[in-house]
Amino acid sequence: MSWLYHIPRDYIIALANANKIHYSFSYAFVVNGLLCAFIIGPLLGGIGTMVVAKRMAFFSQAVGNAALTGVAIGVIIGESYTAPYMSMFSFCLLFGLFLNFSRNHTKMSSDTLIGVFLSISLAIGATALLWVSAKVNTHILDTVMFGSILTVNDTDMNVLMVTTVLTAVTALPLFNQMLLASLNPSLAHVRGVRVHLLEYVFVLLLTILTVACVKIIGAVLVEALLLIPAAASRNLNRSIRGFVWWSIGFSTASCIIGVYAPMRWDLPVPSGGAIILTSAGIFLITMIIRMTLPRYREASV
C-alpha cells in the first residue's frame, strides 16, 4: 500500500529539491504530515457533519481519552509505545460499544452520558498512562492528547488509509439512512432503516477513525476537526450538499495551512495548534458573515 504515498512523497521532495516549493518539503517527515493533512481533512470534515447532525460532538473526545488507557495497556502487554494500535483499537472499540449500549439502555440524553464517560475515561487514562510512562520514561500523555503530525511513519499512514477506505465504503451508502434516523428514528424505521444497528455502526466507525487519527493529530484535535469545520459550514449553508462539501473544504484547508504555514513563515506554532487555529479562524469569519448578512439567517428562524 505504501506506493500510494511513496509516489506523491517523492514528487513533492523532488519539487522542493528543485527549489520550486519551500525547502522544508525536501524532508520526508514534513511531506508525510502534508499527505496526512490531505487524507484527514476530508475524512474528519465529512464525518463531522454527521457528528453535528447526531449531536455527538464530544463522543470522539471520550474515545480519544479512552485511547490513553489503550496506550497504557499496550505498553503493559509489550506493544511499542509509539504505535500500540492493537490495544488502542481493542480498548476503544469496547469503550465505544459500552457507551452506546449504556445510552440505549438508560435512555439518558447523549450529552450527559458522553460527558460522564468522557470524565471517567480521562481520569482512568491519565492515571494509567502516568504510571506506565514513569516506567518507560516518556511523555506519552502529550502525544495522545495533541498528536504529532510531523512524526508519522508508514505504519501510521497505512492505518489511516485503511480507516479512510473503511469509512468511505461504510458511511457513503448509509449516509441518508443515518441522517434520517437522527431526525426521526420512527420514520427511519418505517423506511426500512435498522436504527439501533446503524447507531452501533456509526459509533464503531467514529471510534476507529478517532483512534487512527489520535497518533497523528491527537485526541483533542480529532474532536476539534470533527466539530469546527462542520459548525463553520453550518453557518453558511442551507442544504446538506453545501454543508458536507464546505465542511470537507474547511477541514482540508485547515489541515494543509496548519502544516504548511508554520514551515513556510517559520512561525513558532506546532502543526496541531496551527490546524485548529486556522479552523477556528474560519469559524469566526463564517460566524460574522452569518450574523451580518441577512441571507444566511433563514436557517435559524
Partner: protein, 240 residues
Amino acid sequence: MRGPSIDFERVNLSLGNTPILEDVSFKVQAGTIHCIVGANGGGKTSLVRSLLGQMPHSGRIRIEWHDSKVIGYVPQTLDFDRSLPITVLDFVAMASQRRPVFLGVSRERRKEIADKLEQLGLAGKLRSTLGSLSGGERQRVLLAQALIPEPALLVLDEPTTGLDLAGKEILEGTIKAFAKGGGTVIWINHDIVQVTELADALTYINRKVLLDGAPRTVLANGAAAHLFPTLILSAEGART
C-alpha cells in the same frame, strides 16, 4: 395501488407494569380511511407503533398485502435541530433514495418531489430549509415524504395539528384522493368533525376498544355522547 386490510387480534401492550393496550381487536378494511380516536395517553400512538413493528406486543396484527408492501408514515412531530441546513428537497430525497443526498438528487426524483409539494400547496419550497418552515408547512412536507414512493398503506399520527384551514383542506383532499385510488389509511385524529366527514370507519381507544364502526353509527351510540360530548356537539354544529 391496492392497499392492505389489517386485522388487530387481541393486541396487548405494557410498559413496565403499566398496561397501555388491553385486548385490542378490530379490523381495517382495504382501501378505506380508518380513524383512531381517543383521549391523550389512551394508547393510540402505541397501537400504531405496534403496527409498524416498533413496540413489542402480544396478540396478532395481520396485514394482508396485495400489490405492494410500501408504508408511508407521517409522525406527529419532527424533533430536530432547526439550525441544521436541510432543505425540503434534502429531507424528502433522503427518505426515498439510496444515493447520499450531498451527491445530488436525480432529475426524475426531483421532479416527483416538486410535483408532490405543489400538490400539497408547497410550490417553491423545494429549497427552503426545514427549520424555516411553519409547523403547518412542515406537516405537509412530512405527508409529501410519506407519499414518495407511492405507498399502499398510509399511517398518519395527527397530521392536521397546527394546520390552518387552507392547509387542512389540502391535506384532507390528498388523503381522500389516496384512499379513492385504493390505498388504505390509518389516521390518528382528534378532530371529530374531520372524522365524521372523511372516515369510513372509526375506532375509539382508551386502553381498550370502546367504540368501533362507521362514524355516524358510532356517534349515534349513547356511549359516544359520554366519551366525547363536546366533540359531538361541535360536529353537529359543523354539519348544520
